[in-house]
Symmetry: C2
Subunit: 243 residues, 2 copies
Amino acid sequence: MSNPTAAMLVIGDEILSGRTRDSNMFHLAGVLAGRGIDLREVRVVADDRAAIVAAVRALAAGYDHVFTSGGIGPTHDDITAEAVAAAFDTPIAVREDARAILVAHYDRQGTELNAARLRMARIPDGAVLIENPISAAPGFSLRNVHVMAGVPAIFEAMVASLMPRLTGGRPVLSQSLRIHRGEGEIAGPLTALAAAHGALSFGSYPFVKDGVFGATVVVRGEDGGAVEAAIAELAALFPDDIG
Amino acid sequence: MSNPTAAMLVIGDEILSGRTRDSNMFHLAGVLAGRGIDLREVRVVADDRAAIVAAVRALAAGYDHVFTSGGIGPTHDDITAEAVAAAFDTPIAVREDARAILVAHYDRQGTELNAARLRMARIPDGAVLIENPISAAPGFSLRNVHVMAGVPAIFEAMVASLMPRLTGGRPVLSQSLRIHRGEGEIAGPLTALAAAHGALSFGSYPFVKDGVFGATVVVRGEDGGAVEAAIAELAALFPDDIG
């Protein structure tokens, strides 16, 4: 059986405007790789309802899971929950279980649960809440779409809350080798190696360091012994250029 | 006249597997913002021909420009040029002007232009080359799709080569204000401010620092004076919480 597939949808003007460098994509990719869930695609769209609705529909239809980050806070530009509900033609309103979580949190803090904050208790019908151990306001899973916050610390905590609910697959194991030769020298032998090990995937990621070209070759597969054997073969081809 | 629109397509298993944290998206977003070209969407797909073809077609049809990064080197997993050509049903083959660039470069280095390296001279019919001042092998623009390397230093150099060819728009100016109050306190006044300044866009980006919640509010627009005035109004609303 092949592994579950996934896509991520980052909702964030701040990424598209160049103000912020994404870190949630990098975090989620690492978590999913360790769980045997294959992240196949990421999209970044603006805080724009039509763009979010279209992306949610396309990704939810194409992959087993969709993970979203961003746009679920209390301000006017937080429109993700509404847009995800709209993508599935699902009603959304303040839900009592979510409201109770916010009431308890703001009571503890001695802070008012005002109208803006109450927006964070709006949850689509039939969604399952995702716990937020940092700032309380929950995320939610609606069908195969998991809606989480954009602040990295909160996103990461929500991912940790959600993961035990998802069925993983066989983690993909990987090993890499840095070869201090131009990719043009590596390409031929690597093609032959890839052809000889059809169950593994071989990626070559060039780098430039101190003006010298090299490439990191990454071998990935479910069979750790096979990955190790392929790396050993590769290393033997470039005995003087490894490290 | 509104600004030109753009999308970016990142081709990279290494991003999706969690091995590498993207930096090209962040770089391009900043460059485009400064040129008045509106980056509206980013997609990240795997080194998979069908996925690249589908994404190129969708994005090229939806935006004025598409910028791709990754997958144009000499190894077997470098399939971007072929896939972009296929997306437009355009023939692709080694082109003499591209070959001449490689011949000159490898001659200078005293390195053999072998079959793998010659793959980097495969250019779709009708494409315009994008200069690569670092490692010579060129990128190209086919219609509205600009194909560049994935190694950050080379990607950035190619972006710099390409930009003078593109017509920009009015750069979007932005100013930001860090407010040390929870977003729930900021939301109400910010909504009113946004309603009063319809020509500007207001984004609120929460942060957690040393256990304290705050938000960076970003005001964006083409009129610098209007942006400044809105920031001043906002600052006056939270006189004790700015910094």
